[in-house]
């Protein structure tokens, strides 16, 4: 068993994490939902920290809480889509889908418990170099080179896609340029 302090800390972080996830679902204001998600990411980062992986924890904060959620918030504010209306909740098949996915998740948890034979014992204390930035980097570029490269190619494709989509097609661009020249 880990020491009592760690268990209490874990319980608090876990409660906040689950609470913020529930808050995200029930909140009727998109801004508050986004902020609950930020809180959730932060608590998950703290969980990583408790597990002895500071690099992953800080990467989680930087990427998810710091970059992605700021963009979410930005878009919500830009579109003025803070308030959820009744019609926006009435997507066809939403309830059915939620029930099906919930059942799948419950089945997964049950299967996990059966296969692993109950809740796993606490793993041994990881070495101090575990989750060290240098160790993570070496592992990423030696053991997992191929998945890493594939991910980067996918990201590049997404980036190029975003630029192409915002530029519009050739005719559109020519028309815009002509309009600009006319004005000048």
């Amino acid at each position: 068993m880990p020491p009592l302090g760690v268990i209490i800390l874990y319980a608090i972080i876990g409660l906040v994490s689950v609470g913020s996830a529930v808050g995200l679902l029930v909140s009727r204001n998109a801004i508050y939902s986004a902020l609950f998600l930020v809180l959730n990411f932060l608590t998950v980062a703290l969980l990583y920290l408790v597990l002895g992986a500071p690099f992953i924890a800080l990467a989680q904060i930087t990427v998810y809480a710091g970059a992605i959620m700021v963009l979410f918030l930005f878009v919500i504010m830009m579109l003025g889509a803070e308030k959820l209306t009744e019609s926006s909740l009435r997507v066809r098949g939403l309830r059915v889908l939620a029930v099906v996915l919930g059942l799948v998740f419950a089945a997964e948890v049950a299967l996990f418990l059966v296969v692993r034979g109950g809740i796993p014992a606490a793993p041994a204390e990881p070495a101090l170099t575990f989750g060290d930035p240098a160790a993570v980097g070496l592992m990423l570029f030696q053991q997992y080179t191929l998945p890493f490269e594939i991910t980067s190619v996918i990201l590049l494709a997404a980036m190029v896609g975003a630029i192409v989509l915002t530029r519009g097609d050739l005719k559109d661009r020519l028309a815009r340029r002509a309009a600009l020249e006319k004005k000048a």
Partner: protein, 335 residues
């Protein structure tokens, strides 16, 4: 871990927070005095000698102002936003070492709070979440000027964060570590500003944008947006935004001095460890003076130019700098 260690940490943390808030008070005075001199005025010199008690007078004045919450504002967010803005500014310098260690009351005390192996990443993480306060303040005020100020600063801060992060990669590569202490030790003979001039300049400009200082103080461009995101704020809540801004100014000066100017390194610091904080303090003061000097010199640049500068000039330069530094480090490392 003994109880003494915990007390040491608590005392050091409280000292850091007090130092940053005290620093905030006197940076406002420094800024007003220096700006006044540069504009051939005298500046505040009535309260105390050289106006040294002026910050206290300002604080008392702000405390007695009326607290306003606009009708139609989102009350909770309106109150929480200034707090969210201050906290990252206060905690970001937790990983900056002030020196090696000194002997105090028969106890070896390390002059750093957190000597962690992901120090630079911690700085980046805290910077990245410091956008929220300003964004939320703009949104919750229910005011169009505030909203535009909030949106502008969000766009500006996430754009310049990229260049900022990449400019810090140079020192990491040269020192071969993300530990801030290692980075300082690696600058014993030569500060990284000389090896990384491009990275240093990009860092300096990106931080000016990141802390919304002139010439990049778009979010609060008075002529266009009254006061930007803090238009509706008054009294202590306004003071908190002000505080966050100046504390961030000190923090980026401290981080920049540590990453590029050798931090606490200086002549005779090995023999006399207490010189470390003195050197760091001196570098920070010079940095702050340059910030103020720039504010007095340069006009504000246009918003679209600002974004173009961030994405089309600084980001590619920072990226190229990382690329070239990486190649040079690989070529010059002895195996």
């Amino acid at each position: 871990m003994d109880a003494g260690m915990i007390w040491e940490w608590i005392i050091k943390s409280i000292f850091l927070i007090l130092f940053m808030t005290g620093g905030f008070a006197y940076v406002t005075l420094l800024e007003r005095r220096v700006l006044a001199r540069m504009q051939v005025r005298i500046g505040p010199n009535r309260v105390g000698k050289f106006g040294l008690l002026q910050p206290i007078a300002d604080a008392v004045k702000l405390i007695f102002k009326e607290e306003l919450i606009p009708a139609g504002a989102d009350k909770l967010m309106f109150i929480v936003a200034p707090v969210i803005t201050v906290i990252p500014a206060l905690i970001i310098t937790g990983v900056i070492p002030w020196g090696t260690s000194i002997n105090l009351f028969g106890r070896e005390i390390a002059l750093s709070i957190a000597n962690v192996n992901v120090g630079v990443l911690y700085i980046m993480a805290v910077t990245s979440i410091s956008v929220y306060g300003i964004t939320l303040a703009g949104w919750s005020s229910n005011n169009k000027y505030a909203m535009f100020g909030g949106l502008r600063s969000t766009a500006q801060m996430i754009s310049y964060e990229l260049a900022l992060g990449l400019s810090l990669v140079g020192p990491i590569l040269l020192a071969g570590s993300m530990n801030v202490m290692d980075i300082v030790q690696a600058q014993k003979t030569l500060p990284f500003a000389l090896l990384q001039p491009a990275g240093f300049i990009v860092y300096f400009m990106a931080t000016l944008a990141e802390i919304n200082r002139a010439p990049f103080d778009m979010p609060e461009a008075e002529q266009e947006l009254t006061a930007g995101y803090h238009t509706e704020y008054s009294s202590m809540k306004f003071a908190l935004f002000f505080m966050a801004e100046y504390i961030k100014m000190i923090a980026v000066a401290m981080i920049g001095s540590t990453m590029f100017l050798g931090g606490f390194q200086g002549p005779f610091v090995d023999q006399l460890p207490w010189l470390g904080p003195v050197y760091l303090f001196g570098k920070v003061i010079v940095w702050l003076f340059v910030d103020i000097w720039i504010r007095a010199t340069l006009p504000r640049i246009r918003y679209d130019k600002l974004m173009a500068l961030g994405w089309k000039v600084m980001y590619p330069i920072a990226l190229l700098n990382v690329f070239i530094t990486g190649i040079l480090v690989v070529l010059t490392t002895k195996r």
